[in-house]
Subunit: 238 residues, 2 copies
């Protein structure tokens, strides 16, 4: 198979306390005949854009995740690896980088595409445009124009500003990066910055680096709340 | 009936060109056994918070809107009036103010509650808290914490900022105001400002006036896209 020098990291939850109390993280809920996570993984395996696909899940879910992959997508078993996420999202991304560095041929041109496991409707167009934009600009974010009016309040009681909606976008994923550059910037974070910069694109922006916009899709929704499952089921039927 | 000195304006579309090409504006689509607009109007009629409820709709839909109200909520026929909206949202709000001034007992303490016709799941709590907040602060906006990461781009190509999500909210409606104050501020707009300030709360913010936040609800959704109808139908069944 031709090498693509692009690597996919599916973020399916860290091993941190945030997950500790949940009976079953959202990505393992069934959507149609398969868990949400499996829908997502399939999109990345089908694409032929990646040399490797890593799923980062809570440490306590490693075995179940591996079993689910074997059961639902045995054809992709050689392409997908399951490994443990970190305590924070940043740690999880760093775990992915480490995995690719230790197990794949990573160089100065390598691209890492990071994606939320709970966005199962990502399209091939979005994935491909991410790789192109990350190669061209060093970093990119998938966004759609903001549909709601966004209101800013610094005191949680009164409005401090209503920014012009025409300049606002809702962030989705994938977020994609030159792998070395992402690693370098993440390693440059102070402890204080690490607590604040939970979004990898924001690290690039704050360090003055370009982050290109890739056009997302309203169907590339994040499954967060119970009502999201109903919309997801409706989208699945289309 | 006790006077409440509060007036509700249901914004169901202006008479402008934006509506001109649509076969049927969203607010007239059926949701369960009734058009969306009727669900919304009922919430305001049931509440007993209002001396009058006005529905502002496209001029070409006046007759149909009146017929729908007679058919679906004859009990409220004496409380609800249908009148034409303006070309812009601001014009439509001004039409509502004029109607209340000419037909109701409006004074310095009067409150106007403006609401999108396509948000049929507004709750009684939200309506009541709007009136309380508008009386206390002169203006209020209904918001929920932003769930998506919001990205700002001034050139539509690269990210210029990713504001801290903890300070961001998604605007819903109602938006409620001291009626006289709203009128005064809207009349103070220059022609240029009118083109930009399509959100009444933003007029208050830009004129340095307090706008209090009222806690909305994710179920107080706006029906804008076809997929929203499916979610609305699911919410209706709850």
């Amino acid at each position: 198979m031709t090498k693509t020098n692009a690597f996919a990291a599916i973020l399916a939850g860290g091993s941190g306390t945030r997950m500790g109390n949940m009976e079953k993280p959202k990505q393992f809920l069934m959507l149609g005949e398969k868990p949400i996570l499996i829908h997502t993984v399939e999109k990345f395996c089908i694409s032929n854009c990646f040399d490797a696909v890593v799923v980062l899940c809570p440490e306590t879910w490693l075995r179940q995740t591996q079993d689910l992959l074997k059961k639902h997508c045995p054809a992709f078993a050689d392409k997908v690896v399951v490994t443990a996420g970190g305590v924070t999202r940043n740690d999880t991304v760093m775990n992915a980088i480490e995995y690719f560095e230790q197990n794949c041929e990573v160089d100065a041109e390598s691209i890492i595409v990071t994606h939320d496991a709970v966005r199962p409707f990502v399209s091939q167009r979005i994935i491909e445009e991410n790789i192109v934009a990350a190669r061209a600009h060093g970093a990119c974010d998938t966004v759609i124009p903001a549909t709601d009016t966004i209101v800013e309040s610094r005191n949680a009681e009164t409005i401090s500003a209503i920014p012009d909606r025409r300049n606002l976008y809702q962030g989705q994923t994938p977020q994609s990066f030159n792998l070395n550059k992402l690693k370098e910037l993440m390693e440059s974070l102070t402890e204080e910055e690490k607590g604040i910069l939970t979004d990898a694109c924001k690290i690039f922006v704050l360090r003055g680096q370009d982050v290109a916009l890739v056009r997302g899709d309203s169907s590339n929704m994040k499954i967060t709340y119970p009502q999201d499952m109903r919309l997801a089921q409706a989208l699945l039927g289309e």
